[in-house]
Every structure is written in structure tokens, then in C-alpha cells.
Amino acid sequence: MNSFKAKKKILDIITHLILIAVAITCVFPVFWMLSSSLKTNEEIFKSITLFPEAWQWSNYTEALLKAKFGMYFLNSLIYTIVGVSAIVIVTSMAAYAFARLEFWGKTILFYLLISTLLIPIPGAFVPLYLLLKSLHLLDTRTGLLLCYVSGGIAFGLFLLKAFFEELPREIEEAALIDGCSRFGIYWRIALPLAKPAVATLVIIQCLTIWNEFLLALVVLQDPSKMPIQRGLMVFQGTHMTDYPLLMAGLTIATVPIVIIYLLMQKHIVKGIAAGAVKG
């Protein structure tokens, strides 16, 4: 028994060493971003130091004021929450159907729907722009959101279908016998069971929408509807980049997404299946 414990300990130490080594490379850029955000512009250009000479906390207030973050922040929050919720609902429903239900043209429809993952078109914003214009959705939040949601379908479908397929069928079959409707099974059983996958989808889609700006800039005309990435532009001049302010701005813009990740990653935990059986 003792040798088993010792073996486990050694294994744990090796595990930690590997994990720590990778972790350091991941933390370093964040550290660099924070440290740069507290330097002066001159300092950034002159010397490469890990810590700022004098901590310029005023960079943060200046960045907040200059980038008009307040308004953009709220917009981004709305786009992200609404867009991601819609993606989760629309794609989980479809993914469940593709994984479990029968209907006409199932295979063809699936490949058709995920085909948008394949054709990346830097110029696609022009047809999209004209489409929104003809739908009278140009310069509206709805129009932008519809683009975001449809942009997330292929990925969400692809991700969730694989997870739904792996869920044990027995629970669902039992519920069916108990008289649950198809929708009821999806909503009450399958979706909660797929929580780790849904949480993953939420994290990844939040990241996509929160960081998106090209489409937003093209589709929206009214600055009061623009997302947070618009604010960061102020610091990137044609000839000059104000690095400390840009880094301060990036830090501010990164915090919410890290919080979302912290909140969601808790749901990627074991024991869901057991919980569902009991609950």
C-alpha cells in the first residue's frame, strides 16, 4: 500500500511539473499585458523591463474615458448574452434532433448546415450587408445579432451533436415510456445532461462574439450601437499605437470574458450523469 502511495505521489509531482511548465507560458503574456498597461509610452519603447518604473494607474482611467467604454461595454454585453443564448437554444435543439430523431433528409441537411464552417470568405460581409439592407435590418441590433447567431450554428451543431450521440439512451427511453414528449425529453433530460458541452459552446461563442468587430463596424452606422472592440480602435493610430492605453483597454475588455469563462467552466465537471438520474 505504501509503495502505491509513493508511486502516486511521484506521478502527481510529474503531473504538476508538466502542468506548471505549460501554465507559465500561458500566464506570461497576461503578465506582460498588465505590466505594459501600467507603463508610460516612452518606457515601452525605450527598454524592455518586466515591471514598470512607476505604476501608471491613470492609464486605466484615461483608457476608460478615451474609448468611451461605458456605452460600448453595455452593447457588447447585450450582443453576447442574447447572441449566445440564441445560439445555444437553436443549435442544441437541432443537434438533438440530428443525434436522436428521425426526419426527412437528415444526413444531407446536417452536412449542409455544417458546411458553413468550411467556406471562409473575407469578403462575405458585402453580400451580408446587402442582404440586411434589403431586409431593412441595416444599422439594427437585430440584424447584427441574426448574423452572429447564424454564424454560430455550424460550430454549435457540430459540437453538440457529437455529445448528444454519446449520452446514454436508456434514460431517455425510460422517460419516453413515462410519457414525456420529445421536446420534454430534449429540454428536461438531454440538455441538462449535455451541460459540459453546452458550457463549452457558451464559452467559445462568447469569445467569438465578444471579440468580433469587423461585421459590427460594417453593419452598424450608429456609434451608440457599436461593441466594445470599437473602443479599442481609438488607440491604434495609422502611424502610432498608444501601447499602454491599448493594453489597459485590452485588459478591461478581457476581464468580462475571463469572468464568463470562470463561471461556465465550473459546469464542465464530473458527475452530471449521476445527478440526472437522481434528480
Binding site: 525605450k46 442574447v82 443564448s85 445555444v88 439592407k133 440538455l191 488607440f235 495609422t238 502611424h239
Partner: protein, 432 residues
Amino acid sequence: MSKRSFIVALQTFCLFLAIFMVSGCSNTGSNDEDTVKIWHWMTDRQEAFEKLAKDYFDQTGVKVVFETYAPTDVYKNKITAAASGHLLPDIYNPQSDKKELASYINAGYIADLTDEMNTGWKDVFFEKSLIANSFEENNEWGVKPGIYGVPLDVSSLMIYYNKDLFVQAGLDPENPPKTWPEFIEAGKKLRDAGIQPFVSGFGEAWLIGAFASSYQWSLFGKQGIIDTIDGKIPYNDPRWLEIFKLFEEMRNNKMFASGIVTMVNKDAERTFATGRAAMTFNGSWGVNVYKTMNPNLNYGIMYPPSLPDAKYPLLVFGGDGSSMFVNAESPRKDKAIAFLKWFTQKEQQAYLAKETLNIPSNKDSAEELPEILQEFSNSITRTFENLPKLEAWQVTNYINLNLQSVIIGEKDPARAVREVQEEKIRQMKVQK
């Protein structure tokens, strides 16, 4: 979070979604019909622009709004989309070469300002600053001859050199190299003193192209360049070989800073501003950039060194710095033009020059500039001349890529010019 609360959260999202979709639709923009709207990309000038817009409002009661979209390629994407939807602002810049500018004009997106300019407006500008915005008789693109854009400032590209580093390497800081052999000699001395001789944003294709173009003008002259575009002079002409060899010579003498071929200009500017390279090829905007990065930088400027055997004068890349165009479809066209007229008058231009350290396009306000900018503004008369046609973009791009290849030692100049010529032949076939 239990299963139940997870579902509750999802349902709340649904509700939120529904409400939002409904409210989102009714939310249409409330734009003031009398406001002149300007889209630009010059983030660093936004404050000065806003101040002038306020002055204008106080004087005339006309409201002008400046909106920034940066970086430039994002701005360009926005303009392209807005054009196809006929939703361009009153004043903008398509950020394009002359060929594309012609498309904007021919499609009716840009107003012809010739009549306005001829009432004395054009006399306030540096002559060269109007070149990029005007079209000559019989131009290749079928645009009606005239003036279409309003220059806000002028710029040119020269070589900056660091006087302190020159002294360190035993070079005369008041007497920079004038000819190519002197330039190479100076490079050797700098390298021997442990200093990187030359840096520039050669990762940006246009900048390496601009440097090469100076020598193209100097070896071929205007007619020679036109003949090259027409395919009458091939790219494997000995003169082109000579241009490519200039880059090879710089490489052989270790004149290039480390990593120059993937460097964007911002990084090159930082390298020069921090004294890590002694010379740099950069535009007049650099004066403001270097001041911000390192106010104590002690530097001078010089023309690209001339070639002893050149038949024609060496010209430099430059002319209008940034220009503005009026949307021909705008109902506020007259107001937009009136504002730009006011905007380019001496007083406003002097204010802009002072605040943003650019060379004003209004030549009367250029008199009170700091010394270095004065030198730059003198060089405006030596910028490239107007050409009635342009080389196909693909060929220009190929030249720039092959110049990079020569710098990294992948190809020798002879092979590089041969391959450029092959691409030229391919493109000529396509054009037919």
C-alpha cells in the same frame, strides 16, 4: 448550479431574447438631417478635428461630426460595404489606388470638385498635393478630367538619420551620404561600430516599393516608366537589374536591420526612435511619431542617395498625405464642400499642422513649420509626377515580393527580374 436552476437560467435567456428581438426592431437611428458626417481613420487627429468642428459650428451653425474607424483596412472594408449599399457619409476617403478611385468616380460615389476648385480654391494648395486627386485628359480609366479630392496635408518619404549614432561611427552628422557609394560606405562604418545601419518597414509591400520607385524614376524617367507599364520595356532590362542589385549590395554589406523583411512600419519606427538603427526610410509623419516615442532623438533627413550613372533626377514618393472626397449622392453636398473649403484655409491648416505635426496642404500655412518639416515640405516639389496609368497590382506586388527575396538571399537579382518579367507577361495576357 442544479439542473433546475440551469433550466431557469436558459428560460430567462429566452425571454430576454424575445423582448430584445422586438425592441431591437423599433430602434432606428435618429440622424440629424443637417449634420455633415465625416468618416476617417486618423485616430491621432480626432481631438484636433473635433476642436475645429466646434469652431465651425460656432461660426456657421452647421454641425460637423468626425467618426474614426481604424486601422485602415477596417476603414476600407466599411467604405466598400457602405458604397454598395449607397450609404456613404458626406465626406470620406476610399483608401484606394488611382484605378479604384476612378471606379468610385465612375460609379457616381465621388463628386467632381473641378468648378469649385477653379474659383481660386486650388491655388491655396501645394500643386503636387492635388495630383493624386485629379485626372488628366485621356486617362486610362475614362474619368472626366478634373479635380475630385481635397488634400488635408502633404507628405513625402525621405531617409532619416540619427546624428548621435553617426558621430559614434565616426561619420559627419552634418554631412550625410549623398551618393550610393557614400551610402554603402557609411553603412560599413556603422556596422563596424556595432550599429545596425538601416531599417524600414519593408514588411509592408508599399514601403519597399516606394524605395525602389525612387530609383525607377531616376533610371527610367517618366516615359520609361510608362513604356514599362505598356510592356515595351521588359523587367529584365539592365536598369531594373541595377535596382535589384542595389538591394543585394545593401544585403552583402549587412546594412539591413535584423528582421527587416517582415517589419511593419510601426516597428521600424520604434527601432529608429530607440536608437537601434542609424538610418530609416520613412514618411514625414515620422516627425510626430519620433517626438512621441523619444523626444530627445537627434536626427536629420536626407534624400535617398543618388546613383552616379542615373539619367533622370531622383524623385521621392509623396504628394497628398491624406485627402477627403465628397459623396456625390449626399443631399448635404454643398454643405460638405463649404466645410472642406473652410477646413483648408490658412488658419485651420496652421492649427492642424501645429497640433498634429503634419505638413499642411495649404502652402501659406507651411511657412511657420519646425525646421525638419520645412525640409520635408521643400521636398514636395521633388515627389513623383502624375502618371496616366498604373502598373497592374499583381506585378507591383511581385516586384515587392522579389525585392524581399533578394534581401533574404533567396534569389539573386538576375533570377528575381526574370521572374518579375514572367509575371508581367502573364498579367498582360489576362488584360487582353
